[in-house]
Symmetry: C2
Subunit: 325 residues, 2 copies
Amino acid sequence: MNLVKELGEHKIIEIILRCLEPMPKMPVPFGDDVSAVDIGHGKLAVIKTDMLVGKTDVPPDMSLRQAARKAVVMNISDLAAKGVKPIALLASIGLPRSFTKTDVKQIGKGLNAGAREYSAYILGGDTNEASDLIINCTALGIIERERLMLRSGAKPGDIVATTGSFGKTVAGLKILLQHLSVSSKLRKTLVDAVLSPRARLKEGLALAQTGAITASIDSSDGLAWSLHEISKASNVGFLIDNLPVADEARKFAEKRGLDPVELCLYGGEEYELVVTVKPKLWEKAEKAASLIKIGLVTKERTLLVEEKGKRIPIEPRGWEHFKTN
Amino acid sequence: MNLVKELGEHKIIEIILRCLEPMPKMPVPFGDDVSAVDIGHGKLAVIKTDMLVGKTDVPPDMSLRQAARKAVVMNISDLAAKGVKPIALLASIGLPRSFTKTDVKQIGKGLNAGAREYSAYILGGDTNEASDLIINCTALGIIERERLMLRSGAKPGDIVATTGSFGKTVAGLKILLQHLSVSSKLRKTLVDAVLSPRARLKEGLALAQTGAITASIDSSDGLAWSLHEISKASNVGFLIDNLPVADEARKFAEKRGLDPVELCLYGGEEYELVVTVKPKLWEKAEKAASLIKIGLVTKERTLLVEEKGKRIPIEPRGWEHFKTN
């Protein structure tokens, strides 16, 4: 257990966090989706940084334009989960020496497209020589402190909901990585989920205004992992009785003899929001954004999914750097 | 001219900038040391991102702790040049699979040390698997809009000054890369400049308060390059008649048969501030921070250095990724 490839990403983060002196009165604790600084007048400057690495984050068939756009969307998704409108992004780029002028243009276009889709702008950045493609984006937004949605406020009895269904991205990834053939319509939907992910910004911003949300997270490490993160931060459990398996993921699972529950829970690289909602304000939340009710928050700190009358534990696993491949 | 290794960093940045839709009313134009967003009440949120790559930015003998500290200092130096106090930083880290737990700890400690030296905190980040060590830091600070020092305000007749002398870092780098032997005292000073660079934050903050500074930049790409950047942004020229060659760099140059002017102007990886000062407020500026007067801003857009009665052009070259090695 001494090499990072054995430690895994979560353990590595733990080691680094132990080296850091925490800022007094941090508005957002270590480990939430974003970081923040008090800027007075009841407002926070919210920042998020996330790195895309060619080798691990760019699947075959993803163009450089799509990769650069994804690097932006990854960061915007985290702001979206907190209810924060992104204003500006910075992009630090590492380029292998063999990249061409056209490659650089595609990256520039992808960065701009990703930002403008969400009404934000790329304000600056840095370019470097690197062995592998690296695109590190940082997003900045401003929010009223009281509107910020953290991971830590879920209460027993709250409704658990997601902004969409799960399983398409992991199915699409399998198609790309294992060169599977499926019907062209199914392929398009599943592969699109991988190549052109969308951040649920409109939904996050609208939900933050309702006052109905007690906890929120994006699902870039998978649905199961997101639930475990809320569980840890809020000290609660979950009973999920309506797994939001995407129709296309279910079809794919049937055809390939795979378990749709596995695809839905443990996929990762999805960008739906997972939220807990005050039951009394459920209608208000549902009006603000289209939500799928998937279960309830429980007092007991166990995470269970009910499928066909049987309750099985939701494991704390999902996408993790170093541990995958 | 189609591969990035032939284009060079500055051309690559130009290509990317052409792809970006600029934010309306940007408080800081593209190409200055930092980016900024208006947060109301006459204030700006200032952000900067800069990537350290093991292969190109970490010389032999630099420990991981020092590398991580340097990744922080690089970013703080840019805020310092603008007069902005850093509050918080984010760190995105790419780690080769072969790194150990101890390596990770050293990186964590270096990040924390760099931030705390300048009273800032690391608030969060991201870890990834990468082929090479990557440490990308983003720094955030808040400043009153009218205090921000840009590259663009230098006027003919202004005094040009630096916060210190130049040439030590490039001399130290030569010692490390070419395994040169020099006296242990000289070696210590020169190598220290490489391994433990210092951002001129105290000086930058004090200078920003004087109202005396018309343009400011840090010198991470070298003194010559910094002067050319101010020249471009302010549409002025320079006559430098007092080159701030560090004593140790001069000694090193003598012993090695090198040109001290070359070491001073074209070194790079230095973190002194290069500023232009209103002549009437020179004393106020000098009281705020120890400054070396090195020359004058000229109307004619030529950059000249006067050495032993001869005027020679200052070339637009310095440290540039892809072009070096």
